[in-house]
């Protein structure tokens, strides 16, 4: 931060702050040749995965902007999105109208869950990430109670393809044929044999514009202030708690839409665990992109998605070819995603402590020159 860093220090700083993405680029470069995938296959895979995941990962930007760290509670939004999809499949609303209706249904649910999550996080200031992580599990319990026991019975869901044979509760895998890849094929484009889902990219571009515009609004500015120093923001008259709740609500609603886009690309909904997966993978992706708990930009999102999913695709094959155990690759993939989050969090916490000490030293300012010449 301070100007008088020598070149080597600047280099060192660069490596420390981007340790995670660099480490990742190295791993992927090693794994790609070993996995034996063709270039076109990988490029096609990356493009589809960018279309599928970036909306979800982008939804993580707002809570970081407001200083609430990684929103492990995005799982709440994912659940709301899935409930929306369950209803439109039951009513068999297909095509783009079906997806739009699913999003409309998920919005009020997300807003409610967002407000709940926001107010809980306000009561656990300083421990936001741990609390949102466990709140995700808690709401998951409620979600299972609603989807596995109420739907079909109390909540009218009729289509036999959805409801379990016992008459209530939703099956754990649902085919979303009516809406499969509807956004992706909205504006089909094929270059060589690589098809690019322009429709989804258009929606993602819209969200990026919204985020860029949002940062320029007063609300965005308030959030940035709160992230830096809650006390100063409060004394300047900014409603801190309300602003934090708004940032969580927006993030949850966006996560809901992101999950709908993710599932329309996948084509099938695994009712009881796809939302957990998206939570972990999105957070791992944004961290790999170089984001930290207190600072994240749109490039972090896209770099992160590409790097994470490249590793995700490549590692099982690499594991298989290297040690002949496909399962190894599977575990390797999980190990990398959790390991990355752990390393990124540790690095960040460690750097924050170091910055605090640095700040203290700069505060000493006047004293520093006063250091007695020779310590006897």
């Amino acid at each position: 931060m301070s100007q008088n860093l020598t070149f080597t220090e600047k280099l060192k700083n660069f490596f420390i702050s981007n340790a995670v993405p660099i480490l990742f680029v190295v791993i992927t470069l090693l794994a790609v040749p070993v996995s034996g995938f063709s270039a076109t296959y990988l490029i096609q895979e990356m493009i589809t995965r960018i279309g599928r995941n970036s909306f979800l990962v982008l939804s993580l930007l707002l809570p970081i902007l407001a200083g609430m760290g990684l929103n492990f509670g995005m799982v709440l939004g994912a659940m709301a999105g899935q409930i929306g999809l369950i209803f439109i499949t039951d009513w068999s609303i297909v095509g783009i109208p079906g997806l739009v209706l699913a999003m409309l249904i998920s919005t009020p649910i997300s807003i409610l869950l967002g407000i709940l999550c926001g107010s809980v996080l306000n009561r656990a200031k300083g421990r936001e990430m741990a609390t949102s992580y466990i709140l995700g599990f808690f709401i998951n319990g409620v979600y299972q109670l609603v989807v596995l026991y109420f739907m079909g019975g109390i909540i009218p869901v009729k289509s036999p393809s959805l409801v379990l044979s016992r008459g209530y509760g939703i099956r754990n895998t649902i085919a979303l044929d009516g809406v499969r890849q509807v956004f992706d094929n909205m504006i089909p484009l094929k270059i060589g044999e690589i098809s690019i889902p322009l429709g989804t990219f258009f929606i993602i571009a819209l969200l990026c514009l919204f985020i860029l515009w949002f940062r320029k609004t007063k609300l965005g500015q308030d959030m940035r202030a709160i992230a830096q120093d809650m006390k100063v923001a409060q004394s300047a008259g900014i409603p801190v708690d309300r602003t934090r709740i708004i940032s969580i609500v927006i993030s949850t609603v966006l996560a809901g839409y992101g999950q709908i886009i993710f599932l329309q690309n996948m084509g099938t909904l695994s009712t009881y665990n796809s939302h957990d997966q998206t939570g972990v993978f999105s957070i791992a992706a944004i961290l790999i992109g170089g984001a930290t708990v207190s600072r994240a930009t749109i490039p972090n999102v896209f770099i992160g998605v590409i790097l994470f999913h490249m590793m995700f695709v490549v590692s099982p094959m690499a594991g298989k070819n290297l040690i002949g155990q496909a399962m190894l690759g599977e575990y390797f993939r999980q190990f990398i995603s959790y390991g990355i989050i752990a390393i990124a969090l540790v690095l960040h916490a460690w750097r924050r402590q170091k910055d605090k000490e640095m700040e203290r030293r700069s505060l000493r300012g006047v004293k520093a020159e006063k250091q007695p010449q020779a310590e006897k």
């Binding site: 990430m129 992580y133 596995l148 540790v346 916490a349």
Partner: protein
């Protein structure tokens, strides 16, 4: 009347609510054609199985490191110890003892490294310990496949490389402690060995907190600045508490397995952390203060619910709600505890 209110304030609302809920389950058991004796035995056995795991939470909470979501690290050391002992083919009581010794050694080393790391990230211990736990479990999954284990009882049938997901303890130290001095009354067997073992471990932890280091550790937990001003090395205390928690975690999993009958490898350690954290919070512990009574009360209540809900509720509502209730109760407890206003843990 106010004596009742006093009791409620002292015990705290969550314990009272869940206590009544559990009581109602026990009362309703006979109507649901569930034999009281069997469910009581189940609760007690499960108490013995999980008691030490919940006990392992106490040192870290007392020293201010917060709830130990990194329990899987302790569990891994336990698994490693057990599997290596089985590889060496030592069976029976000797096998169990060697497993404990090996696991404690591994746990001490892992705990030391884990403690050093936690000291660098004061204030964010919980999130980081969760992900350290997760990534180390995944790392071990790879190791189970790669490590050169040969004993037929453990290795996959065909290829012969990599360990099975669940390995039976038959012929090794299955129910070593459970059957020790077990008392049979009708169809109700009382697992005395389990209780003695738990009592010994609880006594050791209670005793530790009476020693000089134990007292210092409690002080570090409730007010780190006070401890530092009195010449206590805060970081050393925190590291010791992490080592003890990890070692207790390792012993805890060994106790759990010998009663359960199988060693569960691969991702099973992940599901150990939350029940233990929820149980100690249910027992009334806060994020920086936990006592042995919290452990005992919490484990009985929590395991009681786990055993009673499937049998009683299923008969009534004809649906298996127990899994959902477990998730809601355990995670609800943790969120409740995390939102309590506690003194800001200053580094």
């Amino acid at each position: 009347m106010n004596r009742l209110r006093q009791f409620i304030n002292k015990a705290g609302w969550p314990r009272v609510i869940i206590g009544f809920f559990l009581l109602s389950l026990f009362v309703a058991a006979p109507f649901a054609k569930v034999s009281l004796a069997v469910s009581l035995k189940d609760t007690l056995v499960r108490f013995g199985m999980n008691g030490v795991l919940v006990l392992s939470m106490v040192p870290m909470v007392q020293s201010g490191c917060g709830l130990n979501f990194g329990l899987p690290l302790g569990v891994i050391s336990g698994l490693l110890g057990a599997v290596t002992t089985m590889e060496m083919g030592i069976t029976g009581v000797m096998g169990f003892i060697t497993a404990i010794i090996l696991s404690c050694a591994i746990a001490a080393v892992l705990g030391w490294g884990y403690g050093k790391m936690l000291n660098r990230v004061k204030g964010e211990e919980m999130v980081i310990s969760t992900y350290v736990g997760l990534s180390s479990v995944m790392f071990m999954c790879m190791m189970w496949l790669v490590l050169p284990f040969k004993s037929p009882a453990m290795v996959w049938g065909y290829g012969g490389s990599g360990l099975r997901t669940t390995i039976t303890l038959e012929g090794y130290w299955f129910n070593i402690i459970d059957n020790f001095l077990a008392i049979k009354i009708g169809d109700f067997t009382f697992p005395t060995g389990l209780f003695i073992f738990f009592a010994v471990m609880a006594f050791l932890v209670w005793a530790f907190f009476h020693t000089k280091t134990g007292t210092a550790m409690t002080a570090v937990g409730s007010n780190p600045d006070f401890a530092r001003a009195s010449g206590v090395d805060v970081n050393k205390m925190r590291t010791i508490s992490v080592i003890i928690s990890t070692v207790l975690g390792a012993v805890g999993i060994l106790v759990y397995q010998q009663s359960y009958g199988f060693i569960q490898l691969y991702t099973s350690p992940l599901f150990m952390a939350f029940p233990a954290v929820a149980a100690i919070l249910l027992g009334g512990a806060s994020v920086h203060k936990a006592t042995i009574t919290n452990v005992i009360v919490g484990t009985i209540l929590f395991q009681g619910i786990l055993t009673m809900t499937p049998s009683v509720i299923n008969n009534f509502l004809k649906t298996d709600l127990s899994e959902v209730i477990r998730i809601i109760v355990s995670n609800g407890m943790i969120v409740y505890a995390l939102t309590r206003k506690t003194t800001k843990v200053k580094s």
